[in-house]
Subunit: 206 residues, 2 copies
Amino acid sequence: MVITIGREFGSGGRELGRRLAENLGIDYYDKEILTEIAKSTELSEQYVKQAVEGKMTYMYPITIGHSLTFAPDYQIKQVQDIYRAQTEIIRDYAAKSDCVIIGRCADYILRDLKPIRIFVYADMEARIKRCMDRREEGDTTTAAEMKKHIQRIDKDRARYYSDFTGQDWGDKLFYDMCINTSDIDLKALARYLANMFQYGIRTPEE
Amino acid sequence: MVITIGREFGSGGRELGRRLAENLGIDYYDKEILTEIAKSTELSEQYVKQAVEGKMTYMYPITIGHSLTFAPDYQIKQVQDIYRAQTEIIRDYAAKSDCVIIGRCADYILRDLKPIRIFVYADMEARIKRCMDRREEGDTTTAAEMKKHIQRIDKDRARYYSDFTGQDWGDKLFYDMCINTSDIDLKALARYLANMFQYGIRTPEE
């Protein structure tokens, strides 16, 4: 069993994934993927992070100052190398054991394995509240700034996802289940979903 | 507990709703709403059916032959009367007992009660298969014709829904959970969801 979780920023998708893995007693992969990619590509973790978070787009021109330009060739190649490493690492995880994988186009990369593809979202108000509650001490980000931050991250994720998969990020047709967490107790939800996935709801293969 | 189910035509939303109600031992409302509306408005059931299935649009001009025209005033009024009756009937159902309500903008009409809002969908191939399997004996509709039929019904539903609610039909933000049934055993799904809803996954009210 492989469960992939796509998620809007601030929707609690990562917490749901972690709790699902705990309830099912299976592996959980999230940020460690970055470390592995960095090792495999010999690029810095910070660079890899920027790339997989869609901050270095390569399919479209980028704006530097006031002039429109294209990413340089070496950068395009690096982003592609990173995606290739990401693909291999995620396939290795899925081959090794049952697991939950957060983000990273895993739903698409593992499509032949027919993973359970979940997308987690919430209304903007709930996402802002969640992010504000989780600010570190001394962080003075305002709600308005947080909203912009959330929108920017989602936009980057959507672009990276569609660049590499050709699918629309968050389009429900590409997921098995989409869950609105605005009003949800994630602990309880994870418990019931784990039960559901453990015993299975898929039509038996013909 | 009130559960509303929006659904793409051919996705099995009605079957899921019926099974959910059975598992939970609560009431189930589907086509009987039409009969009640017909009684309350003194219009024929056939007329009411056409109206609530979005075949008599009134917000936008309609094409008759080659000329663009607007629905006549009396028809606009009737469609509005029907929606008003639908609203009252659905509110009565929800006030009377726990229930599952299929379609009919119930998610929007009952929004103050915070129902569990489910949207059921599936890929086109699965929906065509489901509809073809359910043809009555002697029905010679082809798969290509069925596809057009499905698309037309969805288009009408979407228009009716957005005319009266101002929301986009099927936009995941307006639902608590969206479920892709392409590959799902509805009987098993209904059993697990019923369990989940019975014990609850909502955050307690503050």
